[in-house]
């Protein structure tokens, strides 16, 4: 797995491209996705979509900038850094599980691992690393895993998100599954992710502004004022599912992993800016 990721890293750095298949075309999806949001928010600089609602609402942006002055997630980054640098009981460290010692690679996750046929998320890789070194897995939604992810994402700040969907039917199936989840209606409120974050992006839902799905995931993991703490992307997925009165799915289960794969691909080309602070 490490070799594959290193290969992707090298390809990405060298500006190489994977050969995309003739049928399923994430590339075409991405072009359409971007075109839609550029048209819907013509005054938003393309790179600013990574700031979500703050890219389209000056009043909340001002508050966010006040928080960013000295954001609470700095405490989490520090905790994560300490954890990352503390050896496991067997003497090895997290760095040994990742290319480039885990520094500056978060923007490549999630990626498709041909050997296992699975998509690996950063949190998934963190727990895989722990398992490989005789340590118990961390819980998926908050706490230490969010701190570790925050630290690793912090080292990737400014790096361009580069998710690859290779010419492999297994990878494409996962991508398509994620895409299907995103556009499918669910819950008692019978709403799809797309209903709020594509078709109604920029509109209000009571006093909240709906964030555009372009650049949606770039700032994760996220310190939410509502949570009073740091949480992972899958924690937010569960929350969003609950908000349309749908049963939340398992964090890091196949469905949310597939969703993350599609969702992050749609932010390809944007800067990774985690960890973030949101309401």
């Amino acid at each position: 797995m490490k070799k594959l990721l290193t290969a992707i890293l090298v390809m990405g750095l060298a500006g190489g491209t994977w050969i995309l298949p003739a049928q399923a075309s994430p590339q075409a999806d991405l072009q359409k996705f971007r075109a839609y949001f550029y048209k819907r928010f013509p005054n938003t600089p393309k790179g600013d979509f990574i700031n979500g609602v703050y890219s389209i609402d000056p009043a909340s942006r001002a508050q966010w900038e006040e928080i960013e002055e000295f954001p609470p997630y700095e405490l989490n980054i520090e905790k994560g850094k300490t954890m990352f640098q503390t050896p496991f009981k067997n003497g090895k460290t997290y760095a040994s599980c990742f290319p480039n010692n885990g520094m500056g690679i978060a923007q490549l996750y999630p990626f498709f691992d041909a050997d296992s046929g699975k998509v690996i998320t950063l949190e998934g890789a963190i727990n895989q690393c722990r398992a490989a070194n005789g340590e118990k897995p961390l819980k998926w939604q908050k706490g230490p895993i969010a701190d570790l992810s925050a630290y690793m994402h912090y080292t990737s700040r400014g790096n361009i998100i580069n998710i690859v969907v290779p010419d492999d039917p297994r990878a494409q199936a996962i991508y398509e599954r994620g895409k299907a989840h995103f556009y499918a209606k669910r819950g008692q409120l019978n709403m799809a992710c797309a209903d709020c974050h594509v078709y109604n992006a920029g509109n209000r839902i009571r006093a909240d502004l709906l964030s555009p799905a372009l650049g949606h995931v770039t700032h994760f993991p996220v310190y939410r004022s509502k949570w009073g703490g740091m949480g992972t992307l899958h924690r937010r997925y569960g929350g969003c599912n609950k908000q349309v009165r749908a049963k939340p799915l398992k964090p890091q289960g196949d469905e949310y992993v597939a969703l993350e794969y599609f969702h992050t691909y749609m932010s390809n080309g944007l800067e990774s800016n985690g960890p973030g602070a949101r309401k």
């Binding site: 909340s60 209000r204 009571r206 006093a207 509502k226 009073g228 969003c240 908000q243």
Partner: protein, 157 residues
Amino acid sequence: MTSMKRRIFLKGSLATGAAGMAISAGLLTPRAVLAAWPKSAFEAKTVDDAVKGLFGGGTLSGSDKIKIKAPDIAENGAVVPVSVTSDIAGAESISLIVEKNTSPLTASFILGAGTEGYVSTRIKMGKTSSVIAVVKAGDKLYSAGKEVKVTIGGCGG
């Protein structure tokens, strides 16, 4: 405050290890902290009682020399960034009172001799309310207020 004892938490330099343990062993007498904390002011349920508890009395005179920077509509009532800047000469303290909070007194900042009339912090607001800043200078109390709206978001707040 009637008796504002200046307490110095740490004398001399702090060596992280030993002093850290001294702190947790309670050698810094938590009771001394409680003695100076204006309990009646923090437990007061009205602005007037909070002011009374804090200053023993006195009326607030509106002043345009106090500027409050706070959002018109708070993004999240749990974390509302508030800054107060005061141009009043001889300011000794800046206090923050949130009128509609269950316990309106939120904070009181006692300024050292060379400390400027400026504080910035983040506060919790239970609902739409006026955020009042009170500056004590000599025997006088000056105040200014700004309304901050707190709304219920659409996605569960």
